[in-house]
Amino acid sequence: MTVVIGFEGSANKIGIGIVRDGEVLSNPRRTYITPPGQGFLPSETAKHHRSVILTVLQEALDEAGLKPADVDCVAYTKGPGMGAPLVIVALVARTVAQLWEKPLVGVNHCIGHIEMGRLVTGARNPTVLYVSGGNTQVIAYSERRYRIFGETIDIAVGNCLDRFARVIKISNDPSPGYNIEQMAKKGKQYVELPYTVKGMDVSFSGILSYIEEVAHKMLSSGQCSAEDLCFSLQETVFSMLVEITERAMAHCGSQEVLIVGGVGCNLRLQEMMGVMCEERGAQLFATDERFCIDNGAMIAQAGWEMFRVGQTTELADSWITQRYRTDEVDVAWRD
């Protein structure tokens, strides 16, 4: 049996999870929630993580019923993400790895999402849509790499949603995306927004600028409601994501789609993707908020795969990096 503890803190969530051969033993998490209209800044987020990380670590061990001696390997997020929060998490991971005399594994955050999604859903070789506050990529596996077929050319889809939420002061608790999703259910009219698919890629910054410019005018003149804007934004950006996912599937001859990342727990996105899959006779795999949203277990799971094929990280090489592309990782654990 191989037990891996995973540390994640690349954005506003701090999570520590323990995985033993595909079984999640514990996965506690805290979220840094900012007031409506405000995003999370690196140094404030790092302070939040700093204040709770040791408590979360103790919870992870207690819930799993394990002692440090039972752990075989310490995995942590090497990148991509915000520098200051990444450093906090890496510091604790490096320290406990040495205290407990366990090897360290630096994990690519995106790979963590993919491997967790594969574990939880049982998808074998899916086309992956990875959608979160910091990333938007369509990925397919080929010859030991997760290859990026399409991605955003500017901001992530989740960043577009988060920033729209700030414009009309939607609460960030539990997350702006969740609140947009709930409001969108009450939307009655579709407001036309720019639709920006460019080949295999997508762009969201123009949509955000447009909606930022018109939102207050339309709301104050009663042309539409905030719910209508939530609905219209979701329909537009999710259609774009479904379109590029379908195109990637056609290229790869794939019959499986896996949605991962924080935006992936949006049920409307899952529903739209499901319709496309049904039309193609393909199968959709998605997970709920426990595993879609950043968490420690996903880093533990990717770390488990890496550790089992001997990919460990020397302390001297354990620096964090804000930029770390999905296709840089040698996926030695897959055929």
Partner: protein, 94 residues
């Protein structure tokens, strides 16, 4: 302690020495704190080392402002490492 030379291209210097209960702990702190580079590449250098039970850090910087940010951030990180050792260091030693 910080000091300034009289020459025109004067550099600020700051030396910090942190005593640990044992050589092992000083070494753990050194290896936990060493990997990440300064976010700012120019205008400041930081060198870490450990001998026996002491962790040492030495900075040279062009401006006090940059030095303060770097030292402040280092002390925050050091405090986290020490706290982690206090809370999670025992089981293996037993």
């Amino acid at each position: 302690m910080a000091s300034r030379n009289s020459s025109s291209d004067a550099q600020l210097e700051f030396v910090l020495e942190v005593p640990f209960p044992s050589q092992r702990e000083a070494s753990i702190a050194l290896q936990a704190l060493s990997p990440d580079q300064e976010p700012r590449r120019r205008g400041i250098t930081k060198t870490l080392g450990a001998s026996a039970c002491t962790l040492s850090a030495k900075w040279t910087a062009d401006e006090a402002r940059i030095l303060r940010v770097s030292v402040g951030s280092f002390l925050d990180h050091l405090a986290l490492v020490i706290e982690t050792m206090d809370v999670f260091g025992q089981p293996v030693l037993q």
